[in-house]
Amino acid sequence: MTDYNFAYLDEQTKRMIRRAILKGLAVPGYQVPFASREMPMPYGWGTGGVQVSAAVMTTDDQFKVIDQGADDTTNAVSIRSFFERTAGVATTTQTAEATVIQTRHRIPERDLTEGQILVYQVPIPEPLRFLEPRESETRKMHSLEEYGLMHVKLYEDISRHGHIATSYAYPVKVEGRYVMDPSPIPKFDNPKLSDCPAIQLFGAGREQRIYALPPYTQVVSLDFEDHPFVASKADHPCGLCGAEDSYLDEVIIDDAGGRMFVCSDTDYCTARQADGFKGKDAA
């Protein structure tokens, strides 16, 4: 693949994206419009994340890609091999070793550290979109800090269901200013957004938006005093490694509908098993 520039994008495009990233870091939680390019993979499949990764990637990086927490899901494999081909970058599945991690729908279980960059793939960057479909309106609402509609929606959930009926892409407020969509991570992951030592970058290719959280940014999940936010997960330990603190996938294992629960973060689970931890379903 010598016909393409390092990490596919030309340097001018990367520069344009870096400027959007810097602006995003300067105004945490604010959605910066950027001239997203057509990538050789479909919109909706991580083109925003791929462009952000391409813009921050250097030859010294160790690159990790996860989808649903796993390194070996098909789209994670595809994006990893894209950068292996176009950037010749070293790849890893280990969270601790990685310097750039591109993710879809999860934050790794292992605490991130200073110097790491977590790149999120974002389908709909606008947290107010399902309350107001017009971009021209939602931009106004953000600039006026007019978030009443969101609170009314959450309140209506509580009055109808007794709970806030949002379990992923749970809205957060950044440094007391912008309401932000954390991408469709389960709300279990929301607390990890806050006070994180790593840089967190969010790329939405089709919607042409980039936003960011600099290290140690305060991120609060929206809630009410009498209905505080709870990060929930399936109430089981991992069947393979026995972890009780990790987010779990439910897997149907037989025709009778029998099921087991396993860590969604494959690196976390593998490392624990290597350290001798064993769940009740482990071989």
């Binding site: 050789p40 098909t74 595809s78």
Partner: protein, 362 residues
């Protein structure tokens, strides 16, 4: 015993190998060449060039071959290639009144200077399957005659001389570039036209049709439809003047629309405009109608809430590469989200069940 699913990489490789085999089809049937597609599937090639925003018949034909005839997939291949190409500069505006027309019709006047030229059109063919084509594709030569090479004036210019159609004043403002800047609202007319020129043909057609059926009705006449070749000129700084760098085939449609006047504008005819690469007249006419409908605000018309009047709705949903990508992404794994929904629904059902029990007991 459950073992986590592995081997995504091999699955992908195998899928690609199978896809390549299916693309080729039965090897006892001769393979299609790119030139055959370019010459004999020309209207498909034109659509790929138009919506791919790249005038290159050979590449469009290659994309169609690679995409197994899935035109949106072919458009995607062209777009992804196009975005990597360096920009040398911008051409001079093309002069469509100097077009060498293959086809030129006006529905508003019986005859016009430059004449009505039907050209290679399906319009008056009877749609009867030609079984002879299945056996042998030989065609007799079409009759020919010399044309005078004079420029063909635009029909709307004749209306303009009488002041019956709105002015379209010359404007040298450099338009925003949809492919280099994020789309932001409000979108002015040049930006709207850029988006429509690469918009999905089906979506544009349906929107145009909806205006004809009464959703923001704006009765349109095809003032003029012309298809032919124009020169593309570019200013070369080193030379200090513009030179021809090539020739492209385009379709241009100017619609003439009834207009009884509004608070701000006198009764007059108004314009809709369509310009598309290649012979693509369904798209060009649709584009003109949608363009006209989206001009309701500047012409002081009422917004009747029709989909086609909603510029934001039209522009954000007209690009088939964006649309198909997002639509198809729901094939990707979503089990983390789904798991969190499972937990929530189970919890809500538990509580709803408990409340029902409580009520029954009372």
């Amino acid at each position: 015993m459950y073992v986590a699913v592995k081997g995504g990489e091999r699955a992908i490789e195998n899928a690609h190998a199978w896809l390549a085999e299916e693309r080729r089809g039965d090897v006892n049937v001769p393979e299609l060449s790119v030139a055959q597609i370019r010459e004999q599937m020309a209207l498909a090639v034109n659509r790929v060039m138009a919506e791919g925003s790249l005038f290159d018949p050979d590449l469009a034909a290659l994309a169609i071959k690679q995409a197994r005839g899935d035109l949106i997939e072919a458009i995607f291949l062209i777009r992804a290639y196009r975005t990597t190409l360096p920009r040398f500069g911008t051409s001079e505006p093309i002069a469509t009144d100097t077009m060498a027309c293959d086809r030129r019709i006006s529905a508003t006047f019986k005859d016009v200077p430059g004449g009505q030229v039907l050209g290679p059109t399906f319009d008056y063919t009877h749609r009867l399957l030609d079984f002879k084509l299945a056996a042998d594709g030989d065609v007799a030569d079409a009759p020919q005659r010399e044309t005078d090479q004079a420029d063909v004036p635009h029909v709307t210019d004749f209306l303009n001389r009488e002041g019956l159609i709105e002015e379209a004043p010359h404007d040298d403002t450099v338009p925003r570039d949809l492919t280099r800047e994020p789309l932001e609202m409000p979108a002015d007319r040049p930006l709207r036209l850029q988006a429509l020129a690469r918009a999905d043909e089906g979506f544009t057609l349906s929107l145009a049709y909806s205006t004809q059926r009464g959703y923001a009705r704006n009765h349109a006449f095809v003032g003029e439809l012309r298809i032919g070749t124009v020169d593309v000129e570019m200013d070369i700084p080193e030379l200090g003047f513009a030179i021809d760098i090539g020739e492209i085939t385009i379709t241009e449609c100017e619609s003439v629309n009834q207009f009884t006047g509004s608070k701000t504008e006198p009764p007059q005819f108004t314009r809709g405009y369509g310009l598309v690469f290649g012979q693509t007249e369904r798209k060009a006419i649709s584009m003109a109608l949608v363009d006209r409908a989206m001009r309701w605000e500047e012409l002081g018309e009422d917004n009747v809430g029709a989909p086609v009047q909603d510029t934001e709705f039209v522009l954000y949903h007209s690009d088939n590469i964006q649309a198909t990508g997002f639509l198809e992404h729901i094939k990707l794994p979503h089990y983390v989200d789904f798991q969190s929904e499972l937990e929530l629904v189970r919890k809500l059902r538990r509580e709803a069940g408990a409340a029902d029990m409580q009520e029954a007991a009372e």
